[in-house]
């Protein structure tokens, strides 16, 4: 209420239901329930009786029943939840570390760790050492959707270990 101290502070559970009333012409003519009381809102920049703030009563004891807020988890509850989560995470991490240690020890004894690595035993061709490279200049590189066309010139190629040169090279590829 105007003039009263703000009770309850930041975390107060008191809930006030507040109704702003005014008519289109600015007039305020409403019959009010007894328990209500009207305050003039200081922020309404009009003459008196054109608008106002109707306080319909406090919390659960007033005429307007408070529906929301009753089951809210308060900040206290949130803190508790966080603490639990942290504790759980720590436990999980400890468990994970233990499991990893066991795996490492077990692995050394049972089989090498790289036993399942993808290793290709055979060279696909005899030319695995060759990085086939073409070093050149481009006149034009074009693309239409995924169809690429290359217009190259003045190039030196190393294919399969052999060297080639060209003045012009045209090519096609799909991406």
């Amino acid at each position: 209420m105007e003039g009263e101290e703000c009770s309850g502070g930041h975390y107060s559970k008191e809930r006030y239901t507040i109704l702003f009333l005014t008519f289109a012409n600015g007039k305020l003519e409403v019959s009010l329930p007894k328990t209500g009381s009207i305050m003039q809102s200081n922020n309404v920049a009009t003459s008196s009786n054109t608008g106002g703030v109707l306080v319909l009563g406090k919390g659960p004891t007033g005429m307007v029943r408070q529906i929301d807020g009753a089951d809210d988890s308060s900040d206290d509850d949130d803190d508790d939840e966080d603490e639990d989560d942290d504790a759980e995470e720590e436990e999980e991490n400890d468990e994970k570390d233990e499991e990893e240690e066991e795996e490492n020890e077990g692995g050394a004894e049972e089989e090498p760790l790289n036993s399942e690595d993808d290793v290709s035993d055979e060279d696909p061709t005899d030319l695995f050492d060759t990085d086939n490279v073409v070093v050149c200049q481009y006149d034009k590189i074009t693309r239409s959707r995924n169809k690429w066309k290359f217009y190259l010139k003045d190039g030196i190629m190393n294919l399969g270990g052999k060297d080639f040169v060209f003045q012009r090279a045209n090519g096609d590829a799909e991406w």
Binding site: P124, T125, L127, D131, N132, V133, V134, V135, C136, Q137, Y138, D139, I141, W148, F150, L152, K153, D154, G155, I156, M157, N158, L159, G160, K162, D163, F164, V165, F166, Q167, R168, A169, N170, G171, D172, A173, E174, W175
Partner: protein, 108 residues
């Protein structure tokens, strides 16, 4: 237009290795080696358009990747067939590095 592009060829790499060896033996200075490489760049950039005549075409099974950065195109092609009149060369994988061939480009 003197690209240092052609240093990563059999010819260019062999030259660089030789120069490194000579530097190691103290027979030439590093500055001289740099000069020689620059001269190599100039020579190869002049020789290719004027003394090479061959033209070829190529067709790739697939363009694996393409990159255009600093006006340099880099392509990775798969299953490529290079054809010059009668001769054919096939490779599984080829990397193409191409610098801008326009005349107004400066040194790289």
């Amino acid at each position: 237009m003197t690209y240092q592009l052609y240093r990563n060829t059999t010819l260019g790499n062999t030259l660089q290795e030789t120069l490194d060896e000579l530097i190691q033996y103290g027979q030439i200075t590093p500055q001289l080696a740099i000069k020689i490489l620059l001269l190599f760049d100039k020579s190869i950039n002049n020789a290719l358009p004027s003394r090479v005549r061959s033209r070829l075409t190529f067709k790739a099974g697939r363009l694996n990747t393409y990159r255009f950065c600093d006006n340099v195109w880099t392509f990775m092609l798969n299953d490529v067939e290079f054809r010059e009149v009668q001769e054919v060369a096939k490779v599984d994988k080829v990397k193409i590095v191409a610098c801008d061939g326009k005349n107004t480009e400066g040194k790289v």
